[in-house]
Symmetry: D2
Subunit: 456 residues, 4 copies
C-alpha cells in the first residue's frame, strides 16, 4: 500500500495525505459544519474496523488527486458514473444503511442526496436515472467533500462508542462496497479519458517489461471429483459466495498464465473477428452491430493502447485485457480450448498464493509474467478479471442478506457471467478465492482477461 503525499489537494478543506496514516484521525482541526462543531481528534482508532474504515475512505479521494473539478462531472456511457457520483454514493451507503436506521437523532446532510445518490436499491425509494448522472453539475466536488467528512465523523463516533455485530457487519460491508467503487472509479475515468481527443493521463507509471521471452502457455492438470466451493462465512464475504457447497468436476487442465497480447494478436491476424463459426450467436451479433475488431482501447493498427498512463505501446508479453466474454470465448474456441468454469477456477485458486498485481502497487495496468518457469498457475489474482464459462446464478441454498442490502447481489443473478481473481485496479485486501464478480457478456471497460482451460 502506497502512503505518499499527492502533488495537489483535491478537496480544499481536506487534509492532504493520499494514503496517509489515517488522516481523519490525525487531523485535529476544528471543522464547523453548519452550526455543529466537531473536533476530529475526538476520535481514536480503537478497533481494526475503524482503522480499515479510515484507510478505505481516504483511498477514494486519493485516486482523484490529479483530477480537475471538470473531470468529476462526465459520464461517458450509461455503465460509467461520474467520479463525484462515486464519492457521494459510497458515502450515501453509510448514511442510509448505517446512520439513518441506527442513529435515531442523525440528521441527513442534504435531503436531496438520498434521491441523487441511491444506485439501485429500489426498496430504499425512488432514484435519479442512472444514464443521467452526467447531467448534474451540482452538488459540486467541494460539497461532496463536505458530505464525506460529515458522514465520516458520525461513523467514527459510532465506532468509538462500539458497535454490535449487525452494525459491524454493515460498516464492514460499506468498506468493501467502497473498494468496489474504487475499482470502478479507475475503470470509469479510464473510459472517460479514452473518449477525449486530448487523451489525458491519470498518472505516469512506469510499466514492467520482460527481458527473457515469455514462456509458451502450458496446461496444468487438476484432479476433479466431488469438491467444495464457496465461502464458509468465517471471515468477511459477500452473500453471493455462500453457502459453501459440493460440486462435481471431471479432471481438467488449466492454463499456467493469462493469454498475452501477442497471442491475441495472432487470433486477430488469423481472422478471428471475421469467422462466425468461432462465436456465440449473441456475440456474433454484437461484433457485427458494433464493428468490433480488436480489444477496447487498442489503436486501429494494433500497436498502441490507451491506458491510465496515457497512450502506450502494447507490450506483447502483457496479458490481453478489455475483452468481452464473447471475445474471450471466441479466442478459446479458436485456440482449441475453452474457458474454465467458476468451480474449476476456484478449485485452482484455493491453493494458490494470493499475490499479484493489484491497485496497491500503483501500476494500474496488467503486467507481463514475472517468472520464467511455472509449476503453479500464475496471475490468478490481480492483473485482469478472468471470464469463466459460468453464468452468474445462485449457489444451492443461497439466501440474500435481509433488508435492502439483500439487493446488493442477488437480483443480478441473470444474464451475467462470473469473473474471478481481481485486477490491477483491485485493492489487495479486497479479493479472495471465493470472490464472485459478474458482468454482462458484452462489457469491456473493466480489466477483463482470458485464462484458458481444457478437458483431459
Amino acid at each position: 500500500m502506497r502512503r505518499e503525499a499527492p502533488a495537489r489537494v483535491v478537496f480544499d478543506t481536506l487534509p492532504s495525505g493520499l494514503y496517509p496514516e489515517c488522516s481523519i484521525l490525525r487531523t485535529s482541526a476544528t471543522i464547523q459544519i453548519n452550526t455543529m462543531v466537531l473536533r476530529t481528534d475526538d476520535f481514536i482508532a480503537v478497533s481494526p474496523l475503524a482503522d480499515r474504515y479510515c484507510r478505505v475512505r481516504d483511498a477514494s479521494p486519493a485516486l482523484c488527486r490529479t483530477l480537475e473539478p471538470e473531470d468529476y462531472v462526465v459520464q461517458s456511457m450509461p455503465t460509467v458514473s461520474p467520479m463525484k457520483w462515486h464519492l457521494a454514493h459510497t458515502t450515501w451507503f453509510f448514511e442510509q444503511f448505517v446512520l439513518v436506521p441506527h442513529r435515531p437523532d442523525y440528521e441527513v446532510f442534504d435531503e436531496t442526496y438520498h434521491y441523487l445518490f441511491n444506485s439501485y436499491y429500489l426498496t430504499k425509494g425512488q432514484m435519479h436515472a442512472r444514464a443521467e448522472r452526467g447531467l448534474l453539475s451540482r452538488p459540486t466536488v467541494a460539497q461532496i467533500g463536505m458530505y464525506r467528512r460529515y458522514v465520516d465523523q458520525h461513523i467514527l463516533a459510532m465506532l468509538d462508542e462500539g458497535v454490535d455485530g449487525e452494525l459491524y457487519g454493515l460498516i464492514e460491508l460499506g468498506t468493501h462496497h467502497e473498494q468496489q467503487h474504487q475499482e470502478l472509479m479507475l475503470t470509469d475515468i479510464k473510459h472517460i479519458f479514452s473518449i477525449s481527443p486530448l487523451e489525458p493521463a491519470l498518472l505516469h507509471a512506469k510499466q514492467r517489461t520482460r527481458t527473457a521471452p515469455l514462456p509458451a502457455l502450458r496446461f496444468l492438470t487438476m484432479a476433479g471429483g466431488l469438491k467444495k466451493i464457496g465461502a464458509d462465512g468465517e471471515s468477511f464475504c459477500f452473500d453471493n459466495e455462500t453457502p459453501r457447497h459440493q460440486v462435481f468436476t471431471e479432471d481438467f487442465g488449466i492454463a499456467d498464465r493469462l493469454v498475452s497480447n501477442r497471442e491475441f494478436r495472432d487470433f486477430i491476424a488469423a481472422g478471428g473477428y471475421t469467422e462466425s463459426a468461432l462465436w456465440l450467436a449473441d456475440g456474433w451479433a454484437w461484433v457485427q452491430a458494433n464493428a468490433i475488431d480488436r480489444p477496447l482501447y487498442w489503436s486501429e493498427d494494433l500497436d498502441t493502447e490507451f491506458t491510465l498512463s496515457g497512450r502506450q505501446a502494447i507490450d506483447p508479453d502483457a496479458p490481453v485485457c478489455h475483452v468481452s466474454f464473447y471475445e474471450a470465448d471466441a479466442y478459446a474456441r479458436w485456440a482449441g480450448h475453452r474457458l474454465p468454469t467458476e468451480a474449476e477456477w476456484e478449485i485452482v485458486a484455493e491453493r494458490a498464493t494470493r499475490e499479484g498485481n493489484f491497485v496497491d502497487n500503483g501500476l494500474l495496468h496488467p503486467q507481463p509474467l514475472n517468472t520464467s518457469t511455472q509449476l503453479e498457475p500464475d496471475q490468478l489474482f490481480g492483473d485482469a478479471w478472468e471470464w469463466t464459462s459460468t453464468p452468474y446464478s445462485a449457489y444451492p441454498g443461497f439466501t440474500p442478506l435481509a433488508g435492502s442490502v439483500g439487493e446488493y447481489n442477488g437480483k443480478f443473478m441473470c444474464n451475467q457471467m462470473v469473473c474471478r481473481g481481481g485486477s490491477c485496479a483491485t485493492p489487495a485486501d479486497h479479493i479472495r478465492p471465493t470472490y464472485r464478480n459478474f458482468f454482462y457478456p458484452q462489457e469491456r471497460w473493466q480489466f477483463f482477461g482470458i485464462r484458458l482451460a481444457r478437458d483431459i
Copy 2:
C-alpha cells in the same frame, strides 16, 4: 430453375387431420410439376424413417388448413416468422443439409431460396434479414407448396434407395427440426392473430374443465446425491443433450403440478407486478419498460385470454402460461419457493410417465389437471414448457455436431434459460426427459408455465 405458381394452393388437397395416415404415400394421384411427371405411389415407406418423414412433412401444412393465403405472409414481431417462411425453411433444411451435399446431380428448386430461407446457418452463407421476413410477398404459398413437393420427392427417392448412417441421422434431424417449427408455427400464428383487432381463431377446440376443485399444490421430496443426467446417445437426441454426465444435487422438493391461473391471479392481486423486491434487476427493468402487469394474451380485466380457439374465459384451474422467466422467477419468490434447476427437473422426469397434453390431441391449450390425487409429479410433459433456474450452457465435455449443423444448438449457449418438458403445441413423439429447450428470459410467446421447487 424457377417454377411458376400452380393454379391452386396445393394444401387444399391435403387431409385435414393433424396426424393423418401418411398422405404422401397414400396418395396415388399423378402430380405434374411442369413437364416432370411423378407418380407419388411410386414411393413406398420401406423404413420407419420414411414413415416418420411422411408423417412429419404432412403435419406442417395440415396445421395451416384453416388459413387464408394472406395469413401466411405476416410477421408480427422479429421472433415470429411468417407461416410460409416456416414451410419453406424446413424444406430448405432438407435441401441444403441432405440433397445438395449428398446428391451430386440434384438441381435446387430455385436459386434464390438459399438466401431467402436460411435461418441462421452463417457457415452456409448470407441470408435474408430475420426481422424482414414479413416484407416478402413472393414466393407465394402456392410456390412454396411446389417446393415442398419437389424436395419430398427427392428425399423419398433417396430413402427408397437406402441411406447410410450419416444421411439417416441428417434426415432424422430434419424431421425433428420440422417438428420444432411446427410448434413455432402454432405459437407464431397465435401471436399474429392476437394482434389483429378481428381476433381470428385457428380452430374451435372444446377445452377440458374440472368438476372437482383443483387440489392444493404439494411438494414431493426427491433424494439428491451424485446423479447422472443427459442423453447417452442410444436413440435420437440433439447434441446439446450430450454427454451424459454426473451432477451433485442436494435433496429437494418438487411441486406435484404446474401453477394454476387462479394461483397466478393471487400473485397479481397481491401486487406481485409492483413490488420490485420480488424481481431480478433485469426483470424489473423489463416490467417497467414494457408496462407488464399480466401474462401475455390476458385481457386487462384478467377474465379472458386469447387462444388458438379465439378469445376464451380463463379457466382458473388450468396452468398459467405465456409468462416470461422473469415472471416465473418472481412468482416463485413471492410464493416462498424457487424454480427447479434443470438437473432437478430431469431427475424427476426420468422416472415419470411421458404422457401429457400434446399437439396430437388437437386442444392447443394447457389443460387443468386430470386427476384428484397425485403421488407423482404430474404435467411434467406437455401443457407448458417449464422454466428452470438454469442458464443454458454446455454440458461438461460437450462437442457440437460437425459442419454447419454444429450451429444448430451450441452457439446459443449464452443469455438464455433452459425450459423443459414440452407443451400443448409439441408433438408427443418429439419430447423426452433429456430434451433441453432454451429461450431468452423475457420471451413469452411460447407456451411457458411455472413448476415450483424448494430446498428441504
Copy 3:
C-alpha cells in the same frame, strides 16, 4: 354485421384494362351478397358524376390485376400501405363521409373497418397504427372486394336518386381521393417489389426511347410582376389550392425540360454526394445517416434501375426520378441554378398544354422528351412531380373545408415541400396547374423529378 369471405377473389372478374368502359354498369351478372340479391344493371349512369365514380372505382382493382393475394398484405415501410389497405380505405372514405352521415338507414359493412381503415382523420375517432398496417392478414382481399361492391351499390343508389350540392362535392372529393391512392398504390407496390430479392414486375411495358440526341437544357425567360395564382373554385379543386391571390415575382428563367438521368450521373461523377457545401444541413445529415449516393432504385453501378416493369437499363435521356428534395436542391446548386418557387411554376404552367406521360398510357415510368425543339417548357405535366423550393403552407386567407374533411390538407402545412405537375402514375384527369402536392423533403418513393430555374 360481419360478412364471410366469398369463395373466389372478386377482382378476377374485372376487365383488365386500366381504364375500361365502366364495368360496374356494364356488368349485368347477378351478385348475391349473403341473402341480399342485387342486379348491378339496375344502376344506370345518369350523371357525369356517376360515370366518373364508376370509372375511378374500377381503376383501383384494375391496377392490381397481376397481383397474387400475398402481394396485397405487405407494408415495406411506414409511408407505404398494403394494397388491400388502399382498396379498403378509399371505400371507407365513401362509407364514412357520405353514407354514414347522409343515409340514416345505412348499415356499415363491418363495424371493425372504421377502426382499421381510417387513415388520419382524428376527429373521426381512434384508428389502427399506420406503421402496423402490414401486420394484419384479415380482412382478406376477397372480403375487401365484397366491401367495395357493397359500398358501390349504395353510392350508386344515392346517385341514382340524385344528390344535392354538398353530397355531390363529397362524392366528387371521394373520387379524387381515390385517384390519389391509385398513384400511391403504384408507388407503394413498386417499393414493396423493390425490396424483394426476387424483384417481381407489376407489368411489362415497353418504354419509349429517343433516336436523336436529347437537346441541351435551356432556360426560357418569364416575366414577373404582381400575378395571381391559386384556384378560383369554378371547377373541382382541393381546399389547399384556394383562395386565388396575388403574389409578386421578379422575372425569372425556367428550364425547358426535366433534368435527365445523364445529367444527374454527371452530378454523381463530379462528387455531388460527397461535397457538403452543396447540401442543406438537414439534407447532408440525411445523406450521411443513410449513406445516400444515388437515386432510389438505382443499382450501385448506376447502370440499371428497378421499375414497375422490373429491373431495366437506365435510359440516359429519360428524366431522373426518385430523388428527394434534398437531392434536387443539391443538384440545382451544383448546376449553378435553383429550383423554382411554386408561384413561378404555376405562372409557367397556367399557359402550358396539359398533356403528358400519365398513368393512362400504361408506361408507368418517366419518358424521354418527345420533341427536338422546345419553344415552351415541356414535361410540366406527367412524368415526375417537380420539387419546388416552396415549403407547403397556407395561402393567404386559406380556410379548410368544414368538418372532418377539413383534416384532408390543412393540418399537413408544416415541414413539407410543394411538388407540382403530376407524374407517370397520376391519372390525366386528376391534375391541373393549381394542384399542390406536398411531401417531406427526404422522401423518394414517389416519382419525384427536377426542374431547374434561375434568377435573371
Copy 4:
C-alpha cells in the same frame, strides 16, 4: 502549441457587471502566458469596432460569474452546449475565420481545438460530434480562459494595426456571432439547471409586476399592398436578411401585445392540448409522443415555472414563453386567429421603437406589459421571440457569403420556422426589424412567445 492551465480560473478576476466598462482595455495588470509577457494596456480602443469587440467579449464570461467549474461541463440535451464549449467556440470563430487565414505568422493556441470547437462548418474540416460535447472534461474552464485571452490579444493587436473592409466585416460578424451564443448560454444553462433536482438559480433578479389589470388584447389594423422587406446592407446584418425585396400583403390585423400566461392557461383549461383538430399533424404527433400538456418549465399544477432566478410563481400578466411553434399555432387556431407572416411582422416592426426587455436589464425573463393603453403594437422587441407562420427560406435573389462563413445561415433554410424580435436574453444592440431567427417547430428551450394576427 498546448498551454498549461493557470493556477486560478481567469474569470474570477473579471468585473461582475453584465456590460461593464471594457475590462480588457481598462486592465493594466501584466499577464504572463508561459514565457510570453503581454501588457494588456498596450491595446487601446482606437475604433468603435475595438470597443465593441471588448464589450462583447467581456460579456460572455460575465454571464458565468455565479457558476462553479462543474457547471461549465454539462450538456443536458443535444441542442444544448456546455458553457465552456460556448466560451471556446466563439473564440475559435475569431481564430479560424480571422487569425488563421489573415495572419500568416499566427500560431494556433492548441491544435486540437480546431476539431473540438468547430460547430458546423463542414468546409472547415472534421469536428467533434455535437451530441457528445458534454463528454469532454478537458480542456478545463481555466484553459479555455487562457485561450480567450490569447485570441483577444491577437485580435486587438490586429485592430490596433488597422483592418480593411473584409477583415472588419469578419470581426464584426464574430461579435454578432458571440452575442448569439450569449443568448444560447443563458437558455442552455437554464435548461441544464432545470433538469437538476436541486434547481439552482443563475441569479436572483426581482421581476416586474403590474398593479393595474392587463388590458384585453386588441388587434391594430395594418395596410397591406406591395411592400419592401429585408435589409438594404447599409449597416450590419446577416446575409439571410438580404436582399431587400418586394412582397405583396393583404391588409391585416396585428395583436397589440404578446399572449399572456393567463390567456395560455385558458387554452389549457379549455382542453387545448387534447383536441387534435387544433393541431398541425406533426404537432399532434409531437404532443402525443412526448406527452406535452404545458409550456416547458411549467410545474404540473401550472402554478410555478423554472426561471433563471430559480422556481417562481407564474405571473399571469407576463407573456407566455417556452412554447413550440406547434403550441403557438394551436393556440392561435383555438383563439380564432393566426400567427403573423414574417413579412407582416416586419412591416409592423419597421416603424416601431426598438425598445424592450433585453438581456441588458438583467431580468432574464419576459415581463408584463409596462403600459395601460396601446396605440402601437408593444413588446415587439425583447421579452420573447415571436413565432411567425413563415417557414425559413431564402429571400428572392439571396446569395450566401463567400467561403466557409457561407455556411452561417443559408444551409439551414429547410424545416425551420422564422422567429422575430429578440427576447429577454438578447443584447439590445444585437436586434433589428429585419433580423431573422429560425428554429425547428418543436423547439422550446429558447424564450419563444406568441403574437397573434388575423385577416381583416
